[in-house]
Assembly symmetry: C2
Homo-oligomer: 126 residues x 2
Amino acid sequence: MKRNTWQRDAVREALEHEAGFVSAQSLHTSLRGGGSSIGLATVYRALADLAAKGQADSLQQEGESLYRACTSGHHHHLICRNCGTTVEIKADAVEQWAHAVAAEHGFTRPEHVVDVFGLCASCSAR
Amino acid sequence: MKRNTWQRDAVREALEHEAGFVSAQSLHTSLRGGGSSIGLATVYRALADLAAKGQADSLQQEGESLYRACTSGHHHHLICRNCGTTVEIKADAVEQWAHAVAAEHGFTRPEHVVDVFGLCASCSAR
DNA sequence: TACTCTATTGATAACGAATATCATTAGCAC
DNA sequence: GTGCTAATGATATTCGTTATCAATAGAGTA
C-alpha cells in the first residue's frame, strides 16, 4: 500500500518552487538548506515516483537526470545550452509523426524523446 | 597536431561492424576479445573524437552513452526498448519544426534530440 | 487509544560510467 | 636517425545513482 509522507510532499513542493530543471542532488541540497533533514536516497526515490506518475518530467543532460514539476500533459522542451532556461513547447505534429513512424516499422508502445537545445535570446547576444 | 594511430582505426572499424548502438565498455570488451590490447580510456577518447567529427552518432540510454557508426548525414532513430534494434529514420518535417520553434522563441544554434523508443515487431509479439 | 504490520526512511556502502593522472610509447616533421 | 610531443593505457579518482538494512512511522484494526 502507498503511504503519504511529509518527505514526498516536501520534494514535490520544492520541485514546484524551482524555476527550471534541477538535479536530485541540488534539490536535496536546497531542501537541507531550508532546514529539512530529508535524505538523499529519499529525494531520488520521490523524484522517480513523481516521474513515474507523470507529475514530473525529466531529461538527461551531461550524464545526469534533471527533473521539473509537470504543469500539464505531455510536452517537450526548448533548453538553453548556456543558462539552462527552458520553454515548454507543444508539438502535436511531432506526436503524430512519432506514432506514424513507429507504426510504419511495426513498433508498438512508442515513447519519444524530443528536446531542442540552443542558445536563448540573451545568451545569443553575448 | 592530429596523429593517426592503429587504435583509432580499430575503434572506427569495430564500430562499423556493429549492428546497432554499443557502449564504449562493450566495444572495448569485444576489441579485447578479438585479441587487441587497446585500453579502455583510448576507446572512450576515440569514440568522443568520432562523435565530434560527425563520423559517429550517440544517444543516451539509462545513464550511459551509446555509439554507432554514422552512415550518412543527419537522422534520428527508432529504437526497440527490449532488444535494442535500431532503425534510422529521416524526418525533414521535424528538422524544420525544430528550427521554426527555436527561432520563434529567439533561440539560436538549435540542435535537437529526437529519438523514438518502442517495442519492435518481434518483441511486441512476445 | 493501543497494537500490529509493513511501507518508508536515511546513513552509508556499493556500483558503474566516465574522466584525470602520468610515465611510457610511438607518429611525424626534419 | 633524431627530437618533439601527441597519444596511449594501467590505474586512481570523481560523481551520479542504486542497494543495503536497521530503525521509524503511516494506516488500518480491535
